[in-house]
Symmetry: C2
Subunit: 590 residues, 2 copies
């Protein structure tokens, strides 16, 4: 049945919505795909719902091909399973909590690991039942502090989340690869370029974690890649540890006056002025920067740590967050320094002529962690723990010893990839999918065990695989548009063909009717702009805004049986006999 614009529930808007921060949000609202209902919460109009259904259809087909079965969990869930996993508390303000009329606690689920685990526990008991991968396409909820960017970061959003269940690690690897392959096919069908990057494997004890990122300059995530094929997001990037350097011949540390040099910049300038520069001028890379961080542990206790890293590096907040998780990290406060008078701000170092004040065994007892580049035998200019004094020739492994190594320094273009595949470059991307070996955390916590071949109870190992459906839709809109509107890929376009009848000639409308009907008969989903008193300019503007990839204009040439095919993406227009439209468009399908 041809959809007629004269009575379709669609109104395009001339003005951008005042709250739209990004292109996808602006265009999806203007072109009549979505409307905002509350911050981060949207209503789906007919066009938007059609595109969403097409994305879901592609996902369902690829999940079925991968042998995954669809289920559907409630959005409204009782507290208990999330209490058992610890996430009722650890989600903090990030979830919506509520009570029913009897005062029982519920949440709107942000993700369903607990429920999937309990369902399988409920029904399965033997290794013979495994492997199993089940998934849902479901509306989820997160109480984002700053819902923004339209559908890119909403509070009510649709996700496909899959979970795999195996009783061996090898099985888990196979299930993981099955979903990973399905994701590749899904993104290929959606016409969405992707990079698979190593991701942080989190706290669950799982072995492998990868993100699918769409590389784009407007992406909110940074990742690194080498020409030799390495790719990781910055949180997961690891620095090759430094080879030990011989230091037997080095001079002992020397304290020197360094008034008003609390920053690396001022320290380098001062060093070049007062120290021996026979081997060339000093740079920030010759200094050891010591950053005081405050950790808040899960049990609420607060701990100061000092991180030593080359002076030309900064602490990267995201890498620090991952490195110290589950503890929360923040910079030390003035109060922290007041409470620790041995820490002389701007002059902190791992060595002092008056005895070490950093390290678990030191006067302060504050843990001292270093960047992997601060390897044994490396020599540094660094603080001497005395006001207005630094020291040079301070050698790691001789003059100081760290309590551990930590990866919090920022990654830079040119840093070597950890797999030896050459220097990395930095790029930006948008997360479009995540595949993740959860390991046995949830199964252990919630008691999901099966009997193995020997009749022994073994804990099941799980994988988690997520795609944000509404987020993907927004990203596709973000990537497929021009100054005049949306330009959908054929695989997700709300209609296959947009037929526009122009002019006042009844013959044009009659021919447009006929062309629309023959396209529908040939299996195309047709939107027919049959509005009788709307100018061609408005109709063309609407067609460009709505973004159906193929437009057929039926107007002046109608008397001669001719129509114009207009490719929305290339802008190319070509006049063809009306009788050839189906064949012409059919040739371009699939």
């Amino acid at each position: 049945m041809v959809t007629r614009l004269s009575n379709y529930f669609l109104r395009t808007l001339r003005e951008d919505p005042s709250d739209a921060e990004v292109t996808s949000h602006r265009l999806l609202v203007r072109a009549g795909y979505i409307r905002r209902a509350a911050p981060g919460i949207f209503t789906w109009l007919p066009l938007g719902l059609k595109v969403k259904a097409k994305i879901e259809g592609i996902i369902r087909e690829e999940m079925a091909a991968a042998g995954a079965f669809e289920v559907h969990f409630p959005a409204l869930l009782p507290r208990d399973p999330y209490e058992q996993s610890g996430r009722w508390t650890s989600y903090g303000d990030g979830i919506f909590r509520l009570q029913d009329r009897k005062g029982a606690d519920y949440l709107l689920a942000p993700t369903h690991e607990e429920m999937f685990t309990l369902l399988v526990k409920d029904l399965y008991s033997s290794y013979k039942d495994l492997p199993l991968t089940i998934y849902q396409i479901q509306d989820k909820y997160r109480d984002e502090a700053r819902p923004r960017a339209g559908l890119l970061r909403g509070r009510e959003f649709t996700m496909k989340d899959a979970y795999s269940f195996d009783y061996t690690d090898a099985g888990q690897d196979a299930s993981y690869m099955g979903q990973r392959d399905a994701y590749e096919r899904i993104f290929q069908r959606l016409g969405l370029e992707y990079v698979i990057v190593a991701a942080d494997n989190g706290l669950m004890g799982g072995a492998r974690s990868e993100e699918f990122l769409h590389p784009t300059a407007i992406g909110e995530d940074t990742f690194v890649r080498s020409a030799g094929g390495y790719a990781a997001n910055v949180e997961a990037f690891s620095t090759a540890p430094a080879e030990p350097v011989p230091f037997d011949a080095d001079a002992a540390p020397v304290v020197f006056d360094s008034p008003n040099t609390p920053t690396i910049e001022t320290l380098v300038a001062h060093s070049n002025a007062v120290l021996d520069t026979a081997n060339g001028p000093y740079t920030a890379a010759d200094t050891l920067k010591n950053v005081v961080l405050a950790l808040t542990h899960a049990d609420g206790t607060r701990e100061l740590v000092v991180v030593g890293l080359p002076g030309d590096r900064d602490v990267d907040d995201k890498r620090a967050e991952v490195a110290f998780a589950p503890a929360a990290v923040e910079p030390a406060t003035p109060e922290d320094f007041e409470r620790n008078p041995l820490l002389v701000k701007g002059y902190i170092g791992p060595w002092s002529p008056e005895g070490a004040i950093l390290g678990e065994e030191s006067a302060t007892g504050i843990r001292y962690l270093v960047d992997p580049r601060v390897g044994e035998g490396t020599s540094w200019i660094t603080g001497a723990n005395l006001d207005q004094k630094h020291a040079h020739s301070v050698v790691a492994g001789r003059d100081f010893f760290a309590d551990g190594v930590v990866e919090v320094a920022n990654v830079r273009a040119g840093d070597p990839a950890p797999d030896g595949s050459g220097p990395v470059e930095l790029a930006r991307g948008m997360e479009i999918g995540h595949v993740f070996q959860l390991g046995r955390f949830f199964a252990e916590t919630l008691g999901l065990k099966v009997l193995d071949e020997n009749g022994k109870l073994v804990t099941v190992t799980m994988g988690s695989y997520g795609i944000g459906v509404t987020r993907i839709l927004a990203i596709l809109a973000e990537l497929n548009n021009d100054e005049r509107g949306l330009v959908w890929p054929a695989s997700v376009a709300p209609f296959d063909v947009h037929v526009v009848a122009t002019g006042r000639d009844q013959a044009a409308f009659a021919l447009a009717e006929q062309v629309s009907a023959s396209l529908e008969d040939a299996g195309f989903d047709v939107l027919y702009d049959d509005r009788p008193k709307v100018s061609p300019g408005v109709k063309f503007g609407d067609a460009e805004l709505v973004g159906v990839p193929q437009i057929v204009i039926v107007g002046r040439g109608a008397a001669d049986g001719e129509v114009e095919l207009w490719d929305r993406r290339s802008g190319e227009r070509v006049v063809v006999p009306a009788a050839e439209v189906v064949a012409r468009l059919g040739a371009g399908r699939g």
Copy 2:
């Protein structure tokens, strides 16, 4: 692709779930369609999700055929629109309310009239935009006091709700009939017998309201119907008002002693003992029963009313609820009587030798409302408002005057239909749909107006049309089963054919494979029980429990190329050549 039971996510259960109160709940859990997640909240397993999708598919097709467009509103909604309509408060404990991290109020929507109204207000402004009917299939929430009967009355449930928008009453009638016709087609396709009954038209000011009931003895609703075609639920049934009876010649009221006769039964017995029974014995229908009710109005004030009705009738709670809405009704309490000493319990009446104590103008000021049968000139035995005393020959319209007429008396088989189509019978049914002219309440409240042909702003008139998708699924399960399990109608069955391979003969499995593949090729959705080491008995039991309408058994006859077709509903089995299976089952399709 053939679905193989050996790896399908399905476990049938031998035991009934302990919390299942009704057949549909019991069988849907045992056969692996749903699992309970919390009271009134369910997880959908693959089989259940397939049946649900089929029901939704039928609804979508019929909505499209009726010209309705699909949209999708959030479940999580801000308070404001519901505050404007007054429903934030009037829903009472019946909805889930919550706050976001900023303390803003939200609810989980139980129904979306406000949001639909505001959406159309947002986008439309002219009579030319109308008529419009839009709908959604969406998960809704109600905090039921007693979630029960599985999916029949859940707290999270799926509904299709449609709303029509017109600017004339004639347009509204047409839109209403469009949805009503679509509902008839939907229920016909679902194989669900229905009766369309007049329903209460509520408080919204709308003109017409009808329910689709499935007639069944286990239904929770009572409705009445006449042989002449009248049908209404009991709340909407109206009693024909009594014709005035001449009373000029009647004797004046007479008070008589009636010790220990506070009930109709004792009063009738006493009357037959002490009064003149020349015209035959008195019955309950000769007495006027006066029931004191307490109303709680929307503003919280409490009001007592007295209702007078023939002594052979009782107050029907549901009819009283509708008659007095939006006030809540309950029986008067002992405290109410203490506060109103003029009301002598068991001896209350509208007339008294000492002056009226009922009616707005009376000593108590308590409103006195009567059943339509208490018409002018009717004569009654009733309380005399004196302890242990009644009166006879008390005549309506002469000795007492009511403040109004009210429809709260129970309906009985044999009561005349209000349209003159004969006596009614009572029947029970389950509500499966509701079509409802809302009129202009929401449009007025939320300011939805359009310009008419004359450029004048007119308020839009709306209709509301609901089907409970998950409830329909439960009702279908409730109606289609036997002692061995479910028996789905073909239109909603999770699979078209269930192929069962039995025995240990590899030839049987090879033939079953082949039959399954040829059925899939012919467009059938096939569930193939390929489990290698499961006994035929267990396989047959599972097939009967799951309830796919057509079963193909491939076993002993396989060597001769023969299989058995088993019709799940009739139980009939017939041996046919394997090569004929597709043709045999194909003949029975559609």
